[in-house]
């Protein structure tokens, strides 16, 4: 358990549309085959908030991984090579 934000990835079954993604403004979404991977810097409260939100929306959580430890005090900022906007599913 860490107080400092750390980088997490959360893997969800299925693709999320704009509506569901709007529940996770702090995270960036990426589509992997049949799953959605959400990535972001979260401290423990934020992490559990995200998990509770997923439960409420009836999403199927596949995996949670801490990719990197807490950002060091020297302020090495992680810069995700991510699309600058969340993917929106076109119907």
């Amino acid at each position: 358990m860490t107080a400092e934000p750390a980088l997490y990835t959360l893997r969800i079954e299925g693709h999320l549309g704009a509506t569901a993604l709007s529940a996770f403004p702090a995270l960036t979404a990426e589509r992997h085959a049949t799953q959605t991977v959400l990535v972001g810097m979260l401290d423990s409260s934020a992490l559990y908030g995200v998990l509770a939100q997923m439960e409420m929306l009836g999403l199927e959580l596949v995996a949670v991984t801490r990719v990197a430890g807490p950002a060091s005090a020297t302020g090495a900022h992680w810069n995700p090579a991510m699309p600058s906007h969340p993917l929106v599913d076109e119907p």
Binding site: H15, M56, G58
Partner: protein, 895 residues
Amino acid sequence: MASIAGEPVHTPRRKQAGVPGPLRLIARDTLQTALDQAASRKVTVVAAPAGSGKTSLLRAWAGRQDERRGLAVVQVQRDQQDAQLFWLAMLKAVRALSGEPVGAEPPKASPDFDGAAMVDRVLAELAGRRARVTVLIDDVHELGSAEAFTHLTRLLTNLPDGVHAILATRRDLPLRLHHLRLEGQLAELRAADLRFSEEETRVLLTAAGITLSDSAVTRLHERTEGWAAGLRLAVLSLTGHPDPERFVAEFTGSGRAVAEYLIAEMLEHQPEDVQNLLLRTSILQRVNGELADLLTGRPGSTRILLGLEDANAFVVSLDAQRTWFRYHHMFTDLLRLELRRSLPGEVQALHRTAAAWFTVHGAHVEAVRHLQAAGDWSEAAELLVDYSFGMMLDGQEETMQTLLEAFPGRTGVNFPELSAVRTMIDMVHGRLEEAAAHLAVTAAYAASAPEDRRPRLEAAVAALNLSMGRRRASLPEVMRHAVFLDQPPAGQTDEEIALGAELRVVALMNLGAMEAFALGVSDGPRHLREGAALARKIGRPYLEVACLSQLGFATKLPDFTAARIRSEEAIALAEEHGWGTAHILAPALISLACTMVWMGEFDDAEGVVHRVDLALRGDEGPGISTLAHLVKGMLHAGRFRLAEAADAFGRAAEFQSRLPEPHALGGYVIAWLLATRARLGAVQDARDALEALDSPLIDSGELRTARAVVCLAEGDPDAALAAVGPVNDRGAPVVHVATVVEANVLAALAHDELGAHKEAHEALECALALAEPQGLVLPFVMAGAGAVLEALPPHRTAHAALRADILDVAHGTSLTTPAPAPTAAPPELSPAEIRVLRYLPTNLSRPEIADELSISVNTVNTHVRNIYAKLQATDRTSAVRRARQLRLLATGNPR
């Protein structure tokens, strides 16, 4: 595209206990059977994620139950921070089982909540049932506090025979039920059990009138993995769909998360007015037609809501009249996200509209939540402050805390008004220092508040100051803040008058309580009676109990028996509401324990003292703590546990030294502390403390008795007699006649040591005569007067019964006052019979009694016969025992 919400059925369709009948739910026989089998065990837990069909399953099961089987349903509200509200709902549901007459007092919330006592009440209600009972608790995961789970565990592990509990939850709960599991008394249904089989999926579709190819059914089942919510959403979208096969193909072919895809599809298929309603009302925790009309800006919402419920479209009514509805949580959350995404500009206005509606309808907590959601922070703060007093009385301090925490930034800086709310929360939890700091901030802000806010704030500050003054036991402080009581209640609107009345009751209670506590002020009882009457008038039983409880203490002087009756009344009213160990009841409990100890009923007093500790819950207020330790000291002293007594009196003295001014019973604390130390053998210490005492009480009767005890311990009976002389001549001031009794007892001991037996007997007889009306036993026992009393022949005293009582207690028996049998009123004895009765405990023969009373033996015989008949006694011994139980042997008979 046809709407799912067809024409609603406008009739309440309830089976029992507010359970809606099944609505197009398919009979999931396997699961129903599993539940039926589980019902033979104590507890069933249904644990599965959102949308697994838990609620539908339980409703269908409940609907199939035999009417004779009792069913109590409790729905935990979303984010239920105050466990109290959950327990009150539970108690109400369980009580409804016994078909209580309408108009029975419904359980009320209060700032004092005792979860353990509440569990006892629920268990007691359940134990009284003859039929089998099922208690159904839905959405248990919403319970906010660990404490609530602790109490729930105790309830579940102590269910009476024939009572079965079913819990539905999304998450495994911190309930320690392993014992039940080991005993095979726990049944569990989990997500995998709740999944629809392919066959059930087929039945579900057929029941909804949807025709699909076998392969489509299989694909739909695989895609949703039998998840109930997914299937229900699919059914809603498929209802009236022109090409169901295509819908299934598109859905199963899409990679989208099931819930989101289907809810979007379902919304898409609704007529515009239904979509509009669902989106705009999703901001609410509960919705009714009127509110929905307001938010959508068009009429007809009630019909839509009823139609949605009938179509089983994730909308359920909350009441038998079907006026309030809530949406499935998962459904709500997705709708809210959709609303924010599609109509971001409207969200704030919707929250404002809702807040205004809830404010007008008196639902202040919801109103504050919506103002916060609208970002109208100042308005939210004002509303919270205005109604915090009522919220506190309704036992919602946890909710208040949550609302406080929702304000942005450092609320103390941004919203100084909120310090009033913080003061209250700290005060309820007994954190007086923090409360005082917040109160200072509130007062400073009130003085400079805008014109329209000032009266409200000043009223709140006055009320808080009064409570604070009482907790600190400072009469001048209380008097200073109670000046507004002299002004007639002002206020233009009914609401303002009501707020004013609550404040007035609190002021009267605090003022009266302080006056009763202070030395030489006599207005206490009058103010408390006035407060109790006003509380009753405005329907605030909690405040009424608070006033009556203080009144129990306030009437302790000059007559303990009156105080006892008052205290018992306050306790009875409190117990009716389940506040038997509430903090506000502490004064009445202390007062009752005190009178019991005076009367030698040590065992019963011990039970009450235990309740005092429960009620105080570690409250360290100097006033109440002084009294609590004083009564403990008295109890130990009466039982001759001197070390414990000295310790308790010492703690009482410690608390007493923190009081700003002397209080009514101050003399007792110091006197008994010194006397107990002397009896323990620390004679020199007691003497030094006595000489060093710099107190206006030095010449009081109470301290003179202490001086006499020290003198006797020093082996100087003459000095002891000199010390108590002025008390017995009634020259020295005393708090209560008990002091004079004690002084006479000590004089008797001194005479006895000097060998003056006649004087010793005279002093004893005098003490007995003074003690008789209130049945005071303690002064004799405390002073160790047993031997002297034994030496006093029973026929030489007119108080043989009291003498016998005292000797019983001195020999370690505790007297009792049994509760009167509810069926029979206590027998009425005539004065003449009472006179004879009082000779029965003596060993005088009937002719001797006749002589004593100057009546004939025949008359005595007649009286004795009547006494035996009335007391249902067969001989002298059983008559005496019965008479003692009924407290007929003291003339100050309270009944």
